[in-house]
Symmetry: D2
Subunit: 291 residues, 4 copies
């Protein structure tokens, strides 16, 4: 299968690498061409524009940062839509929200092409190991057609519904992660104030009915004061803001999320925006930021 991949950031470059490793013919485009060097050395092709890329492949994959970047690669004279074949398939792995994803779906439909939104979760480790969880929104036909690609980049794909619903449930998933991080922060701070360290707390949690791999992942980072970024404060702040906007639009009160979003706001105001989400613990208890 001839596959095009647009967007070679932290996630996209690893996902593209897995497609190449599975033997697919891979054509790349990225705003900064230099980021494609390693994959090109490994056999990937290069296209001069997204449009040129689309005209050479069966499937166009995108993985970009935000709605503006998606518009930039999709629309206009050099956009991939202009090069798309009538029976083409577009898979968007970006997290851009229901509005942007529905807009792109309509543009694809207008050209006779199929569209699948496919936001992922699992961090850069999951992207490298091809164990990402992929939430898919689109027709059953598009979901079926995308299987070879989904299988190459992720560990599990779930077809949650129509276009827009995968973006929506991705926001819900991040809302849940934010509550878990907040629980860990407040729990660690309260335990610490009574002389109990994060490791002891983790020992209790992971022996309980509410154990989760996530507690280990973030708890060990917190215990080690390791705030290197897997999921940044800025990015989660953006997603909580989107979730609250959805709540306001759909009439759903979100008092926990609202309180937590402001903690992220405080973390950003204190210069922690680019650190990992677990750095928000230092807003609750500055001692959690000190080794």
């Amino acid at each position: 299968m001839r596959i095009g991949f647009i967007g070679l950031g932290i996630m996209g470059s690893r996902m593209a690498g897995n497609l190449l490793a599975k033997g697919h013919t891979l054509t790349l485009w990225n705003r900064t061409a230099a980021r494609a060097a390693e994959l090109r050395a490994a056999g990937a092709l290069w296209a001069e524009t997204p449009r040129a890329l689309a005209s050479q492949v069966d499937v166009v994959c995108t993985c970009v940062a935000d709605p503006g970047a998606l518009t930039a690669v999709a629309e206009g004279d050099d956009g991939f839509l202009a090069g798309l074949s009538r029976d083409g398939l577009v898979i968007d792995f970006s997290t851009v929200g229901p509005v942007a994803t529905r807009h792109l779906d309509q543009l694809c439909q207008a050209r006779g092409a199929r569209f699948l939104e496919a936001p992922v979760t699992g961090s850069k480790n999951g992207a490298a190991a091809a164990t990402l969880l992929i939430m898919c929104g689109g027709t059953a036909e598009a979901f079926a057609a995308a299987q070879p690609i989904l299988g190459a980049v992720g560990g599990k794909s779930i077809h949650v519904g129509g276009v827009g619903q995968a973006a929506h449930i991705k926001l819900v998933g991040n809302l849940i992660i934010a509550h878990m991080v907040q629980a860990l922060s407040e729990g660690a701070a309260l335990a610490g104030a009574a002389g109990l360290n994060v490791e002891t707390l983790l020992g209790v949690i992971q022996s309980s009915g509410f154990a989760s791999p996530f507690w280990d992942f973030k708890g060990k980072a917190l215990a080690a004061r390791d705030f290197s970024t897997h999921f940044s404060v800025d990015l989660m702040h953006k997603d909580l803001t989107l979730a609250l906007a959805q709540g306001a639009a759909l009439g759903v009160p979100l008092p926990g999320t609202a309180a937590i979003r402001e903690v992220y706001q405080m973390a950003r105001a204190r210069g922690q925006g680019e650190r990992d989400i677990i750095a928000t613990a230092t807003v609750i208890d500055p001692a959690l930021g000190v080794a």
Copy 2:
């Protein structure tokens, strides 16, 4: 080993049953004598007072509802302290907070007896199946001496520190549970507003890195609108209030917990105090309470 068990409520009666099943000589006392009938039919003995019970056994176990009930069975002319032997061991499985538990520890020490606080988590199912998680506070010696009993009633025992610290970490654990329930409530409400049901949300969560048995436990109950009580809104409200009081006393800001406690307050004001904690979801979205 001769064991006395005081307090035959939902948890205590099941734990006592497991001690009897393991072949221990078991003597019982309960405020309402009738609740001991089944265990007595199975071979357990009965004492007329907590004091009489203490004078006949090597280890006194207690599992009562609150600090007042603990005082009632421990102190005064008929209290078990008066019957305690000098090298006796007292194990308290109640959840009564650091203050009450430290007070009882001092009274035991004054009589030359050893004390272990041992609050449990795991619900009535875990009590019946002897899979409870037991958090222990006390000396290493008391923890070692209690092993045969802990092993008979629980699946895992963790020695977290001195007396009071187990009560403290139990509150922290409940704080974390409250965040998870809130995450599920808000997530389910937001998903539902976009046409995605709880089962679909659970499917995504349980395929992710933040999967947990707890999501299944509470998520399936929510999907089925089954609010039968495993852990009541009133009880969690009490524990969150204790956690916030600890936070205020120890100087730890708890903005997530503070927001969530008021949701429990709203649930109580709407007559949901005795239902399961997952019933708080109906405060967020009344539709989650309708089949």
Copy 3:
């Protein structure tokens, strides 16, 4: 002075009435023509389109519901911009946020006309009595030129800064009002639970250093369970959402506002969206909704 007035809602119709009463030549346009009947009977003229209106007057005033309505009357073939004279003056009394107001300013500048944003506060009573507080954003020259109109419709005009800053400070004012309403709701609920009624609480407040006419206005309504609308829950919800969006964009944590916005969300979910903001007290304490 020949004045045109576009938008004859609750506020606009009363403001236009005051301009007419001061002897100005007034030309009207409104989407629903029937709403102009009373003022036309009192001597006001009618224009067939916003563009026609603009070509007949020296100053164009607008007072519409939201950014979409503003675009509809300003832009396009029939919009007032097309009829504006080069030295014309546009005064927008709408509350539409900094983004929309800056956009309109640029369109006016492009035509050589002057623009003043002039959002008001003071409810329909203040609109009728010409005692509105008017926050103005624009050049000193535009503010000076607008004086005859501002003086006719309001009690006080404050020039806060450039275009966009008046919209911004209007949001801040509403944020403050929301905190005061929340204070009154929670205070009345807590007082009531101890047997103290709203009148007694008001007596204490109004004798204190934090007395304000606003407490009387809303407190008496609450005491009388009179939820007739001066400022609706839906409208405040919209403004708090805008304020939180500004906070997120500008990096300002707003934990009080975030908590309060969700109370408005709960009020809306319980069918209180069109009632007065003081109806949010019934979310805190249902007893405050019962006479």
Copy 4:
């Protein structure tokens, strides 16, 4: 009238000074005798113990810091209760909460004496100028008997109900103040982020229907970055904690207060506990703490 005054702190010393200035015979007792020097030089008498004081006067006034201090001066061999005449009158100006105040009332009743709780609001300025607002709880007869004293130390006295209700409404008043301070903090931070300073915001507020002397008092302090203490963060934190405890006990959800209490917690954790409540603004926006 022979009046005894116990407790010569910031408030009590100024109130006692006003009683002396009105020509009353004043007898003093204070834990630190030196603090009475200035009033003794102006003609006040001194008693060796609270009991001795009570035996020499018609009315015993108290103004101490907390319930423990009240117990210390009231009970025991040297306490004023032991010296109280059967028809004596006790007026307590302290803010000690409903529980402590009801306890003292019962001890007075047991001795045949009358009791009035009389917490005050108005800061040290109001204490000096005798413009305090006094909230009174007790019988109508006790309130009537206390008039000469209340009139000498305060500007207005309100009889809100029985003993305990004045303490309760004082907490409600502080809850309202906390919301106003939060509104000012968040409003000033949001305005500041758009280039609008506190003075401009104050100009708008004080021209509006929600104007209040309190905005001027705190707004001018904030504009000047003057955090000298009129009402400390620690003290308000204590009162909000009491209000939340009352809410939890009486079944009243207080989501705004809960969010705000955690802001005070954060201020304390950042070393601002002894500064004025307006210093909490620096938690929201560190720029508000920089001149």
